[in-house]
Structure formats: C-alpha cells, structure tokens
C-alpha cells in the first residue's frame, strides 16, 4: 500500500517521529513574538502537550470533518475522537478525501480514523459511529476543545446545550476550568463561516439563531393546487402523492438515497408538471428537492476547516489571541471575508441562565403555546414536549415524538391553559431535540383582552 506508515525512530525523536517533523509548528511554540497571546510563553513543553496530552473531539467526518482531522494531525494533535452517524455515499467522494469508492457503505468515522492513523504516524484517532445524542456529559467532559463540522442546526444547538450544561458556577462566578471551547464551522456551496464559542462567556449558537436563514418551504396551497415551478411539482409528489399511492408498499417511506424511489418521484413529477405546462423537472432537480441537497465543493470546506483548525491551535497553545468570534467567507466574486464579534443575547434561551417566560392569557389553547415554541425566531424548537407539575405529579401535556403518547395527549392541544389546570407563575418544562437539557419556562397569565397573534406563514 502506498501509505505504509513509517515507524522508524530517529535519535532524539519520539516513536514515529523523524528529524524536522514538527519544525513548521515549533517556530510558533518556541519563539517569542510581538503578536502572541499575553499568556504565551515559549517552551518545548507546549508541543509535548499537543502530542501527548491534548484531547480533541471532532464532530462530523464529512466535508469539514475529513479536512479537520488532516489539519489537526499535521499540527501536532494526536489524541482525537471523531463522531459521525453516517455511512459513506458515492456523492461524498468529490470532497471527503479520506474515503474511496471501495469504502461506500462503511461508517465515515471508522474509515476516516483508519486513513489518518495509517498515514500520520503516531496519530490516534478514535472513531464513534454514533449520534452525538448517544453520549452524555461524562463523554464530552474529557475533551480540551471540541470542533464541529456539522450539517444540521439542530445538532449544533444540541452540542451547544451540552457544553453549557457542563459549566459550573461557584457563588455565581463561572469556573473557567469547566469551559470547553467550541469551534464551529459550516459551509454551503461557495459560502462558509467559522466561529469560536467559549460557553458561558461568548455568544453561543442560540444567541445568534436569527443568523441562520429559514429553510425554504412552499405553501401547501401552492403545492396542492397552484404549482408554478418544477419544484412545486416535485414537492406535490413527495408530500401528497407518495403517502397516497404507497408505490413501494404500505409502510415504506420515501428514501432519497434509494434511486428507485427518486426515479418514481421524478416520473410522477413529470406527469404533474405536464398537467400544468410546467417545464424544468429533471432527475437532478428531483433528487435535490427530495433530499434537500446543498451543493458542495472541496475548496470551501478546505478554507473553513483550515480557519477552524488554526483557531483550535491558538486556543490549545495560547500562541495567539483567538478569533473573536465569527468569520464569514464567500468566494463567488473574488474572495471575501468578514470578521465580527457576535454578541451574547441578553435573554438567550440556552445560555442566559434567565428563566424563560411564556406570556399567554388563561384562555389561550395549548396549541398556541406549541406554535410559539416552534415559530418564535429565538426559540425555533422542532417538536417540543411540554410537561408540568400538577397536583404534585409530573404530567405530560403534549409530546409529539412517540406516536402513542402523541395520540393520548393530542386532545390537550385544544384545551385552554386554564382547563389544563395550569396556574399563573407555573413552571413548564420543555424538552426538544435542539437541547440536551429541558428548558424551564415560567408561565405568566396576561389579561384576557391582550392576545398575541402568531404569524404562521412561511414562504
């Protein structure tokens, strides 16, 4: 194999090392400089810390993850864990360079770790073919720094919440040793961003939730009766026709990764489009809509992962003052970067530690509360489960994610808060995929004449 690792020990170097191996890195660790972090002290021990002690978690082994693993391995980091719940797909190979066509179907984390461990002697990447939610605080607590290359806002919010839950306060003062820095990168086509989060100290993911553009969804009336674009036709087949026709069997859901499924949607979308004289339905468009595909190239991932890894290096070594705290990149027209300080949100539902308020009249229905939790721009919950303590007992008011409980609690949605037995000042506990910990809300009853109208339209 081309990449047979060389474990030749050179005199004066550790096992797996050779002369000059870390010279590019050492210059930043063993020399003074005018722009270093105020805490920085040149020392040979810092490199040893990276090589022997520093423990990093990389979340995601995809476009950003592969780049991050390479960057960290070549910067002196040897103790790296990587988590990814996905398996390798052919369409990954244009940028996820640790994978080859023979690896299709295998877990990303496993193959990525194998490749790095083989090619960068001494590096020990431990893979986890799991969801981030499969781990608890004790797992995350072992890392010095965590870096994410995720493709989901929900997942980002979850890990953000997890790190916030690890913070400890003594007499209201944050214990710095409980802070695990979080570096987060994201890319889409030719755009990307990298940010540094010090949980409890700087803006967290939820502080800047409004920065994330809303997902494009089409109104149901357009899809059902007034399609104009080829995308509308595809959505019709995906959302309305598939559940009706059940083309591959009763309980078979539409799988965007199954070419037969996509082909069926494509053919039916063509028929739908023909009815309305709409042109432009192609297989590629069909797949893009069904899978919500985001275009991706190697170059953007390379840039953002590089920026993230540079920041990680700075934080691990105190070599320089880290990014404070958000970098935006776009190379559609020339190359554009913009660096700014995202601000802590005063009443952030994730990190402000302030009790969150819910203000509704007692005649408001539980449905309205549910809508508020999902539609409010600062909360953007996905499928919140609401519980309250009533008559000394913990009662689930509504839960969506388990079918039997959803059915049982559904009637509560039409009941008023008063009918449900809720009192003014009552605490409601809300659980959701966007956070590992339940969020506590305080219910404040407003007067009957004041009603909050909810704008529920999305375009």
């Amino acid at each position: 194999m081309l990449r047979a690792g060389c474990s030749m020990a050179v005199e004066g170097c550790g096992i797996g090392d050779w002369e000059g191996r870390w010279s590019h890195v050492q210059k930043f660790l063993e020399r003074t400089g005018p722009f270093t972090h105020p805490d920085f002290e040149p020392s040979e021990e810092t490199l040893q810390f990276l090589l022997e002690t520093c423990k990093i978690l990389v979340i995601g082994a995809g476009g950003l993850g592969c780049e991050l693993l390479k960057n960290l391995a070549l910067s002196g980091f040897r103790h790296i864990h990587v988590v990814d719940m996905d398996i390798i797909d052919l369409s990954n190979l244009n940028r996820q360079f640790l994978f080859r066509s023979k690896d299709v179907g295998r877990p990303k984390a496993d193959v990525a770790a194998e490749f790095i461990n083989q090619c960068v002697p001494g590096c020990n990447v431990v893979p986890h073919f799991k969801k981030i939610q499969d781990f608890d605080a004790s797992f995350y607590r072992q890392f010095h720094i965590i870096v994410c290359g995720l493709d989901s806002i929900i997942a980002r919010r979850w890990i953000n919440g997890m790190l916030l839950s690890l913070l400890s306060y003594e007499d209201g003062v944050l214990d710095p040793s409980s802070i695990i820095p979080l570096i987060d990168g994201g890319t889409e086509g030719f755009k990307g961003n990298a940010r540094v989060i010090l949980p409890g100290m700087t803006a967290c993911i939820d502080c800047t939730l409004e920065l994330y553009p809303p997902q494009i969804t089409f109104p149901m009336c357009t899809i059902a009766s007034m399609p104009r674009l080829p995308e509308h036709c595809i959505e019709y087949v995906r959302v309305l026709q598939w559940p009706k026709d059940k083309p591959f069997g009763d309980a078979v859901g539409l799988d965007g990764d199954n070419p037969e499924h996509v082909q069926w949607v494509f053919q039916e979308s063509l028929k739908r489009a023909a009815e309305f004289n709409i042109t432009g339905v192609t297989y590629r468009l069909t797949q893009g809509v069904v899978k919500r595909i985001i275009p991706a190239v190697a170059s953007t991932n390379a840039v953002i992962a590089a920026a993230c890894a540079t920041e990680l290096f700075k934080i691990a070594t105190s070599a320089y003052i880290p990014l404070n705290n958000y970098l935006v990149f776009n190379d559609v027209d020339g190359l554009y970067t913009y660096t700014f300080e995202a601000e802590l949100k005063d009443k952030c539902s994730a990190c402000s530690q302030l009790p969150q308020k819910l203000q509704f009249p007692p005649s408001a229905k539980l449905q309205e509360v549910l809508e508020y939790l999902t539609e409010n721009a600062s909360l953007q919950m996905k499928s919140p489960a609401i519980t309250a303590t009533l008559e000394g007992k913990n009662k689930t008011l509504y839960l969506q994610t388990v079918a039997s409980i959803e059915e049982r609690t559904r009637p509560n949605l039409c009941k008023t808060l008063k009918e449900l037995g809720l009192a003014d000042g009552q605490e409601l506990a809300v659980a959701d995929v966007t956070t590992p910990q339940t969020v506590l809300f305080k219910l404040n009853f407003t007067s009957e004449t004041c009603s909050i109208k909810h704008q529920s339209r999305q375009f």
Binding site: C6, H24, G33, N94, P295, F313, D331, V332, G334, T337
Partner: protein
Amino acid sequence: TMTDHKTSKEQKYDRQLRLWGDHGQEALENAHVCLINATATGTEILKNLVLPGIGSFTIVDGHKVSGEDVGNNFFLTSSSIGKNRAQAATELLQELNGDVSGNFVEESPDKLLDNSPEFFHRFSLVIGVQLPESTYLRLGSVLWEAGVPFLICRTYGLIGYMRLIVKEHTVVESHPDNALEDLRLDQPFTELKHHVECYDLDNMEKKHNSQLPKNYKEKEAFRQLIRAGILTNENGTPEDEENFEEAIKNVNTALNPTKVPSGTEEIFNAEQCENITSQSPSFWVIAHGVRDFVRNEGNGNLPVRGTIPDMIADSDKFIKLQNVYRDKAMKDAAVVSKHVEALLQSVGKPPESTSEQEIKLFCKNAAFLRVVRCRSLAEEYSVDTFNKDEITSCMDSTDSEMVLYLMLRSIDRFYQQHSRYPGVYNYQVEEDINKLKLCVNSLLQEYSLNVNVKDDYIHEFCRYGAAEPHTVAAFLGGSAAQEAIKIITHQFVPFNNTFLYNAMSQTSATFQL
C-alpha cells in the same frame, strides 16, 4: 433528459455539478494544470483540483523530500525522504481520483526556463508556489507572452498570499448573488403590453409622466395605490390578499429602471468589442452582436432575460406570463444570432464558430458579463508603473494587510541578498531582524514610499522563519483552487489581483497592484 441514467461519475460529482453544471465540469476535465513545487501549499491546492476531477496535472519540482516537508504535507510520507518531491507527491495525489492523470517533472523551474520555456505553453494554468522572486518574475514574463494564466501562491508563517496574472479573462456566467429581475415594467415590450391589457391595471402613467416611482415617498404612494386595489369585505376589513401583499413587499426590487448596466456598457465600448477580427474570441464576437441589437431592435436595451421570479398566482396565469417573457427572450436571442452571423461572415469565419447555445447563454447573462484584466508582474514591480497610490493610501492604517505585502516583498529582497530566508534557525532570529529592516528600508526607498512599517511586523516575519504551517497552507489551498477553477471554467469571478490572508486576525484583503 426524460430518462436520466446516472453514471457513477455524475453521482460522484453531483454536489459540484449543481454549482457549475455539466459544461463547467467538461471544461475542468479538459484542463491541464501545472504546479511548481509540491510543498504543503502546493499539494493542498492540487488536492482541491484533483478531487473535483481536473483533467490532468503536472508537478514541476527539483527538490528532494526533507523531514520538514513530510511533517506538514499530507501527500508525502517519511518513506519518501530523500526522494524527488515531484514524484512522491504525484503518486499520492493521483491516488485521490482515478479520473485524473498526474505527471511529474524532476526539474527546477529555473532550469526549464533556461532550456525550454515553451514547456509551459501547454498548460491551462500554471500555479507557482513558494517561489523566489527571480523565478516568478521570469516565469511571469514567459507566461504573459504566451497568454497562459499564472497564479502565484505562498504561505509564509501565518500569512497567505496569492497573485493572479491573466491578461484578459472573460466571464459570461458570473452567477451574481443578488441580481435584479428583468421585468421591463417601465418599458414593457409589445407582447407584455398586450398580455397585461387582459388585466385591469390602472393608469399610473398619466400621473407621473411615465416615470417609475423614484424615491421613498413615491414608492410609498405606489404601495398605497396597490393597497387600494385590495378588495374589502362587507365590514370594510381588507381581505387577506397574499398576492397584493407580495406586490407591496417587492416594490423596491421590482421597479428598477431598465437599462444597460455600466459593466456591460464598458464591455460594449471596449476595443476588443469594437474591432472584431477573425482572431476574436467568441465572447467579443457575441458581445458585438448584442451591442448591435441594443442599438437597433433593442431600442437601447439588452435582449430580454426571459426568467421571472416565482410569485403568488394561479398556475395558468403564471405560466402564460412566464411564456411571454420566455418567448420574447428567444426572439431577441434569434435577432442577436443574425447579427453574430453577419459579423462572422464579414471577418471570414464560418457561422458554426459560435453555437446557438452560446448565444442564448450570453443573452441570458448579458447584464452580468464580467471581464477581468490583471496587470502584469512587470507593471507591478516597475518603479515607473507600480501602484503607489494604492499602497500609500492603504498604509494610512499601519495594520492594513498591505503591510504584509510589503513584508513579503522585503523577504524576497532578503533572499536575493543572503540566499536564504530570515530566522530559519533559532540563532538567526535576533540578528536577522536588523538585516530584514535594512531590506524593508531599501524597498521603501527604491519605490519612494513614505509609509511606516512597524518594527513588530519585521520581528514577526523573522520569527516565522519561512515556516509553512499546515492550516495556513490549507486555507490557501482551498482559496487558490477555487480561483483556478474559475479561470478554467470561466464561471464565477476571479479576484484581481493580489490577495492577502492574515491567520492571526482571520482577516483578508484584495488589492489591485
């Protein structure tokens, strides 16, 4: 196509095909890129070209692999220490993608320039990495004469630098992020006029002398006009009319006056557009044809783009409206074709020289055409023509990225004088600071630059010791590769012409030097 049988290549490249299309991919697969020096920066750039399927690459490198090289380079292993770097890197880069063919030349670029400079003429693009000044100036001159685009890249400590040199690079598909729609509401073409006459539109023309609302006050008045059109129910409460709401929201963007954008106007006025010869690239031939259209059938306007944004309407009405614009666009493109045909004939070129598809694409993008012309290195370096104004004004702020450019120029001077870079070994750092400062001063003096380069930067650049940390090389690797793809595919717009990245502050700047 009705039945889309996806080849495995289409599947593999799916995510990028959605950005530059099959034709962009074809251009990429027909390209042959030359990389000079397989350092970390070089191999990272090449990795980001091999993965998307560049046709072929050739690495030119006379160096042997060192222990330091292997330490920061993902495409070198310790077993290749002492071997030729070009060969070692080619093997591992080639392995990334079987569709790509990799070659190597175990030779220094200087030797090639001495003996056979025409070696470089075969490439779509030459990328020179970590080159000394004398080499890149020589290479720059050869490639400028040969019309081969040249991209210089270097990672120096925590600084990244790129310089693009291409005489003239035309872009039809610039894919602008925020393009205004081409609705022609102020100058409706006949077919559009007839179409909307079916609807009951009021006569705003009479009140404002056929002018569009210009300022906020007028636009507000226009919005009120639309609002007044919303039906009310028996109680006098306005109905929930989504389409009217949408119209009100879009007043600002839909009412842009129809005109030829200044960028396109400049292209029409360019010498290459005016004087079409049998050597003229099709970009200029078609541009001339569109210009002829604008001056005649277009009545001062570009061919209609033909696309309209989605809007709340029933299917039938929307499709009919869409077809009005589409049909007009096709008609206009056909007229442009006639002009182009006549033009080709007049210079003795066959009509097949430009395709229908090319002309249609050009017309659709007529408002977004871009031409990038980079100054040569000779112009940048000559005391007579260097961009003094840009350098001086940027240096008003002493921490501008421009200081990094001046430092790199000074480092080059240092290398010329001492045949090495400053501060490579620990014992050199202190004494090299003064030597480097002399280089900075001689640079500023030679160009009569009255600017202040802070000592901190001189110290920092000595500290770097010509290190090439992997993460900075990787940042540049992604940046440079995408610029290379822009040059090859003629899609999206390349930078012009000097890019500096500061990994300490995570900031960057582009200068035209």
